[in-house]
Symmetry: C2
Subunit: 468 residues, 2 copies
């Protein structure tokens, strides 16, 4: 990773400029060149970048100067209160899983895997190749690059049993990450004021998107074995909902995987109620003891709307996912996507397709499986030994997280705060519940932090829990 010398000089001078008075003369190219051991060309490049950032201005023949800052008076935004009116829903604060924390802290809160778990070489090669193609300078079709649509469709078709008509490439929309897919589905297929069944606990991002769409959440209890199909049946009957959002494989946060019988029963229930199952296969590439077994390939008649992202298995910078939907639902969702974003960068699509069609991709997935297994088992053992008060119901068969129940009555916010003050960041379970939490939980990500620090982290968690 090239922390190149231009960036180094820009960073250094930015700090210098922040402390310098406006109009101060910036040291000469020769001085900076000597100080950073960089060539004059590199220094001049850094100066141009500072100029473009509006931090310095150069007067030809005179020198370069810190740009005069305009006088700042406090702006009055009070008038906006009446223009904006009351907010449509509770302010959506950033989830704790998205926080950037000190590099010294042990971050068990993240929703993403560490860079070591990404196919870094494949990504860089694919991007370099895509940069040389038409994809770098042209607009992609609204529904996605045809070859990438076909790849996603073929993956589903390969899992279809005999006699079931698979979704086609045409049914597959390429979107910029599954979050935008959730937003579009909730807006276009459910709609404001209408009910949506949702597992409890479940992914906070889905609840955020549902809230933005004005959808009414109907929680259905779920856990390591998924929901009770009778519960799902009752919830459909009582609420009149026509859709159920779920993560049948390696659910976030519980890590649960639905048994085959549950999947079949829920699909039957959904059919009987003329409803949609919105299947979020977020950890499709992140199985450990089992593969993800999506329900979508068993559906003939467009009851399952399927989401599957490459963000977590390829790279968070190649923000590409597939949304598979059939019939009028597909048309409505495509219309919503067009209004929302028109199309997804073809460059990212071309690079993602390149990565997943390389022979190295399968090899990479096998290696990641072993790394996830080792990380999961290590953190689990560390928690069992050093923080026995945190109860982990079952060893998740895939995904990135452990879901730990704390002793009844534990103040989760205090635990999170006290852990953080000792350098361990954990995510409060509260964020994954659509209503009141069913108990005190924390989510511990085993895929992000340095595994050599898991024991230390578990020790700190154990210490904090011991003080309750």
């Amino acid at each position: 990773m090239n922390q190149d010398s231009t960036a180094r000089i820009v960073a250094g001078l930015t700090t210098w400029i922040a402390a310098a008075p406006p109009g101060a003369r910036v040291p000469s190219t020769r001085t900076i060149s000597a100080q950073y051991g960089a060539s004059p060309v590199t220094v001049q490049k850094a100066m141009r970048r500072l100029g473009a950032l509006g931090l310095v201005e150069s007067r030809p023949g005179v020198g370069t100067f810190v740009r005069a800052v305009r006088s700042i008076r406090p702006a009055d935004h009070g008038w906006q209160a009446s223009a904006l009116g009351a907010p449509p829903n509770r302010t959506s604060a950033l989830s704790s899983t998205q926080r950037a924390v000190s590099p010294d802290a042990i971050g068990l809160h993240s929703g993403y895997p560490a860079v070591e778990l990404l196919p870094e070489r494949l990504i860089r090669q694919a991007l370099a190749r895509a940069a040389r193609t038409d994809a770098a300078v042209t607009r992609a079709p609204a529904a996605g690059l045809p070859d990438l649509q076909a790849w996603f469709a073929a993956e589903l078709a390969a899992a279809a049993p005999a006699g079931v008509t698979s979704a086609t490439a045409r049914d597959t929309l390429v979107i910029a990450g599954s979050q935008s897919g959730l937003s579009s589905i909730f807006r276009a297929v459910v709609g404001p004021g209408r009910p949506l069944l949702i597992e409890s606990p479940t992914y906070w991002g889905a609840m955020l998107a549902a809230e933005q769409a004005g959808v009414v959440l109907v929680p259905v209890a779920s856990g390591s074995q998924g929901p009770d199909p009778d519960d799902v049946e009752r919830a459909f009957a009582e609420s009149g909902a026509r859709a159920f959002y779920a993560q049948p494989n390696f659910a976030n946060p519980t890590g649960g995987q639905w048994p085959q019988a549950t999947s079949q029963a829920v699909l039957e229930t959904v059919r009987r109620h003329g409803a949609f199952l919105i299947e979020d296969d977020w950890a499709h590439d992140l199985g450990i003891d089992a593969d993800s077994q999506p329900i979508a390939p068993f559906d003939d008649d467009g009851h399952v709307i399927y989401l599957r992202s490459l963000t977590k298995s390829v790279s968070p910078a190649l923000r590409v996912a597939a949304l598979v939907a059939r019939g009028p639902a597909r048309e409505r969702i495509l219309g919503d996507r067009a209004a929302e974003s028109m199309y997804v960068s073809g460059l990212l699509q071309a690079a993602a397709l390149d990565v997943v069609t390389q022979p190295g991709w399968r090899t990479h997935l096998r290696a990641v499986r072993e790394q996830l297994r080792a990380r999961r088992d290590l953190l689990l053992a560390a928690v069992e030994e050093h923080a026995p008060q945190a109860f982990i119901g079952g060893r998740p068969r895939g995904g990135l997280n452990l879901w730990a129940r704390l002793p009844e009555g534990t103040d989760v916010a205090r635990v999170v705060r006290d852990c953080e003050s000792r350098g361990v960041i954990v995510a409060p379970g509260t964020e994954w519940f659509p209503a009141e939490p069913s108990g005190p939980f924390v989510r511990l990500n085993y895929a992000s932090a340095d595994p050599s620090r898991f024991t230390e982290a578990a020790g700190i968690l154990g210490g904090v829990l011991g003080e309750s």
Copy 2:
């Protein structure tokens, strides 16, 4: 642009497979290798890609075969009608500006500039560089890369008069193209059922986003000199609207640029009504006889929400734009973006920042200005000579389009159809009107088609109009 041999073989075999019966044996690597003059390694790479696309399956030691297609029965999506209910608004068909057409046709309908007008070398170099940095494998912050935020903010600050406090980097959100910004602003700042003033005619994409957000449009007549400020005043007073969406510079479709006095008067009106001006500076880098002169730098108190995209001036594949908003409006919009998409690919942001901070960027913009001028003048002269029935009110001072009024009573749909059957694609003006069109118009893009065919195109348009 590398149409590489792997891609050539994949394309050839895909055609062959489409005609072959399921189970047919694919020719041997040696045969294909000879046929395409490619190495066996290249052929095997192509076969792997076909396998990944689900088109062939290989049986080790036996050969490679066309994959058996599953039996297709017509699926029944009828049940979805009652699950989905009535559509929330008229179906948003794809705009005619987004159509892909035969490569032989002369496309005057597009909304994008030709590849020759893009800084192709800078784009490819920037992407290759970004592919080697952390940006390729990490998640970007929700509001954008700080350096890119700072660049956008500095551009606005440079245009601010003395005594006006500029928006800062913190007020600048990086978004994936201005379309998603429009959607978020209309949802978060205006809201469903509430009125929004909008120029007529105006950008169809803004109307599409407004419709998706359930906003009620209040048209204000506009043209090459922008709207009449008294009209804007009356529309605010009568409708009770708290927001006005406008393109004060090189408006799409008219090409109009508001005189300074209009900009000042409208900003005053907006302030007096405690309202927002949503300023879409879509053609910021596409000035010809004038520079874009945004209104945002004259605003102190967060009345102007400013949008400025790099999609059209850098590359449609580097889908990056800035949304500048201050005060509570910024918080609401940021919340909506988080729910909608979490973050924008840091790779695209890093590459875009690289392009616009290269010395070659300014040189490129100057060259584009001359190319746009030459193209505009050429198409204008051709239309005046060969299609005099199409009246073009004024030479647009920037942007990509001519806006031509056809003789009263012309059937625009017929003109579009007849032009297309003779190989010229024009966009019907109807799409740019929020209500009934004020007359028969077509929009002619001078930045996309081959200029050597402008005379031919104008001749065909003139011929079609002569037959009315």
